[in-house]
């Protein structure tokens, strides 16, 4: 009898835990200790960040350093995709939602309620298998390659190899940026579709004639060749000066103006310390050094 009692108690406890976890999720994680007062006061409380899986390593690394400086602070950085981040921040279940794209570009997000914090810049370019033998491509040719009008690299002066496209999922931020700025909005033809940049890199490296697109941070070795577009090489300087067109902001969104811990953390992300060291280590470009800026419609202008 006693053991039965114990078992039923355990089962009840387990059920209770499941229920509280399911209902509670996030709600009780809201900064329970307000830290709105002056800078001199020690920061404390907890912060939940979610969204873009591409940004997760960067934000998590920054959060770790931030927590080391402010031991009473607890920051959780979840991945899950830009859509998840934007949805969760607009319904208030997390304080910061990371996204690879402007909130305005995603359907069903109340962009006017969200405040954009551009924390980093990422450059993206086409990547080919090294054996293709091409290092520079005209934009119009690139569009023809990705829309399937050119099907062999020899038409562009490369090896006699069939072109194999490696795409990202329809809703991926990287795909959206690449389509908009590298392909001028053309819809790419069908090809292998993979979500993770590392898998894309692996496929391009292993498959003859493969072409895909990757963020600059993945060109660390010569297993894939980055393409220059219209003679402009895919380098940090060219992105910063606005010569290289394919780049995007990494956004951190808050619902309403950031306050308390969220503001402190976002300010920390924008500090020279993070922008000049951590960002570089992670393969991003500091947003503070950009000489051009861009709005949600993609219009680019110089910063005065």
């Amino acid at each position: 009898m006693k053991s039965l009692k114990k078992i039923s108690m355990l089962a009840l406890l387990a059920a209770l835990m499941v229920i509280t976890a399911a209902c509670g999720g996030g709600a009780d994680k809201k900064d329970n200790a307000a830290s709105k007062s002056g800078d001199t006061q020690e920061l404390s409380g907890s912060l939940v960040v979610s969204g873009s899986s591409a940004m997760q390593p960067l934000v998590a690394a920054a959060a770790e350093e931030f927590m080391a400086e402010n031991p009473k602070v607890d920051i959780q950085v979840n991945a899950g995709g830009s859509g998840t981040g934007l949805s969760q921040v607009s319904e208030g279940s997390v304080q910061i939602g990371n996204s690879d794209v402007f909130a305005e570009e995603k359907e069903g997000i109340p962009a006017d309620q969200l405040v954009d914090h551009k924390v980093a810049v990422v450059g993206i370019t086409a990547a080919v298998n090294p054996k293709v033998g091409i290092k520079d491509i005209k934009k119009e040719d690139l569009i023809k390659v990705f829309t399937g009008k050119i099907t062999n690299w020899k038409e562009l002066g490369g090896k006699d190899q069939k072109i194999v496209l490696v795409n990202r999922p329809d809703s991926s931020g990287t795909r959206a940026v690449f389509n908009k700025f590298a392909l001028d909005g053309a819809t790419p033809a069908e090809g292998i579709t993979e979500d993770s940049s590392n898998t894309v890199k692996k496929i391009i490296n292993e498959t003859e004639g493969a072409v895909g697109y990757l963020a600059f941070s993945y060109f660390t070795d010569d297993s894939v060749t980055p393409l220059a577009i219209d003679g402009v090489e895919a380098t940090e300087e060219n992105v910063q000066s606005g010569k290289f067109p394919v780049w995007a902001y990494e956004h951190s969104y808050t619902k309403g103006e950031a306050d308390g811990l969220a503001k402190a953390f976002l300010d920390y992300m924008m500090s020279d310390d993070i922008q000049n060291t951590l960002l570089k280590d992670q393969g991003y470009l500091p947003v503070t050094k950009m000489k051009v800026e861009r709005d949600a419609e993609g219009n680019q202008k110089d910063i005065k």
Binding site: S8, A11, S53, T84, S87, G108, D170, S171, E190, I192
Partner: protein, 307 residues
């Protein structure tokens, strides 16, 4: 004091405590059942309402959804929501995987029960159990690093293909089929075998003409359970199938399944958008399919009882 209780009181007391135990036990078991049932119903209702939203709220036509081969949800001017290629892909890998795994699994089961019941079982059983324990992501990873390059170099195509998907899935569902088929074969009454031998049949004739037909409904159940698992598998398939949105022309073409499209796009879409809702609709199709598989198994097992 206890010892001084009269026999009547002792009996009453033990009865009372037994009744208490009866009640607690009953309560506990009913609670388990209620939780399970309500979870299943809640999931069905949730998936039903979510999955139908793309048709009721976003005005996607069901006919277009199920029969069109064009899938282009992000095209703002002219979005297309046809999931036929993914439905086809799901069915294709599932049936092809069953085509490989069924003979292997049933053959293994016959080997374990009829040919070498003692040592065959001792060797094969742990191996089959080992296969169950390997997580699907590991199958996918092995498929991606070993199988895909192998097919690319030796068979042709890109390596990312229906063929790779079906091989990975076949290995994954093999344990399910083998285990259930083994149980089915070993639960056959011995007089079937003895009767057959008495009539002068050889071992092979006994297996082929008597035992396999007798166990057929259970063997089919084993295959269908394996297929249900294959139909719902996402991760391993996603890594090797290539996720192309067109209908495949051959077994060496890359393809996509319902599950791989859901996992690929889930995180990028925002809650409540048409794209997100169409992903839910695909989830609903998967649920309906698993109901269909269960109904089929029910039908088969009712046939078995009639015999």
């Amino acid at each position: 004091m206890e010892k001084l209780l009269s026999a009547q009181e002792r009996l009453l007391k033990s009865k009372r405590s037994r009744l208490g135990g009866e009640f607690r036990g009953k309560f506990f078991v009913i609670l388990c059942a209620v939780i399970m049932i309500s979870a299943a119903i809640a999931i069905t209702i949730f998936l039903g309402t979510k999955g139908l939203q793309s048709f009721t709220k976003n005005g996607v036509s069901i006919l277009e959804f199920l029969t069109s081969t064009k899938w282009n949800p992000t095209d703002k001017a002219n979005p297309a929501y046809g999931v036929l290629p993914f439905i086809f892909g799901s069915f294709a890998v599932t049936f092809l995987a069953a085509l490989i795994a069924a003979p292997l699994g049933i053959g293994g089961a016959i080997f374990m029960t009829e040919i070498a019941p003692s040592w065959g079982r001792k060797v094969l059983q742990p191996i089959v159990e080992l296969l169950v324990g390997i997580p699907s992501v590991v199958y996918g990873f092995i498929g991606l690093t070993v199988l895909v390059p192998f097919i690319r170099e030796n068979v042709g195509g890109l390596g990312f293909s229906l063929l790779s998907g079906m091989i990975v899935l076949a290995i994954m569902i093999l344990p399910t089929i083998t285990t259930i088929a083994t149980d089915a074969m070993s639960s056959l009454p011995n007089h079937l075998r003895e009767g057959s031998y008495a009539l002068g049949a050889t071992r092979w004739q006994t297996i082929r003409k008597v035992l396999v037909p007798a166990a057929l409904p259970s063997l089919l159940t084993a295959i269908i359970l394996g297929m249900a698992r294959a139909f719902g598998e996402a991760l391993a398939v996603q890594m090797v199938i290539g996720n192309v949105r067109d209908l495949p022309n051959s077994i060496l073409d890359a393809s996509a399944t319902l599950t791989t499209i859901i996992t690929l796009n889930m995180g990028h879409t925002t809650y409540g958008s048409v794209e997100n809702n169409t992903l839910w609709s695909m989830g609903l199709i998967l649920l309906i399919m698993s109901f269909a598989f269960i109904l089929l198994i029910r039908y088969l097992s009712s046939r078995r009882k009639l015999r």
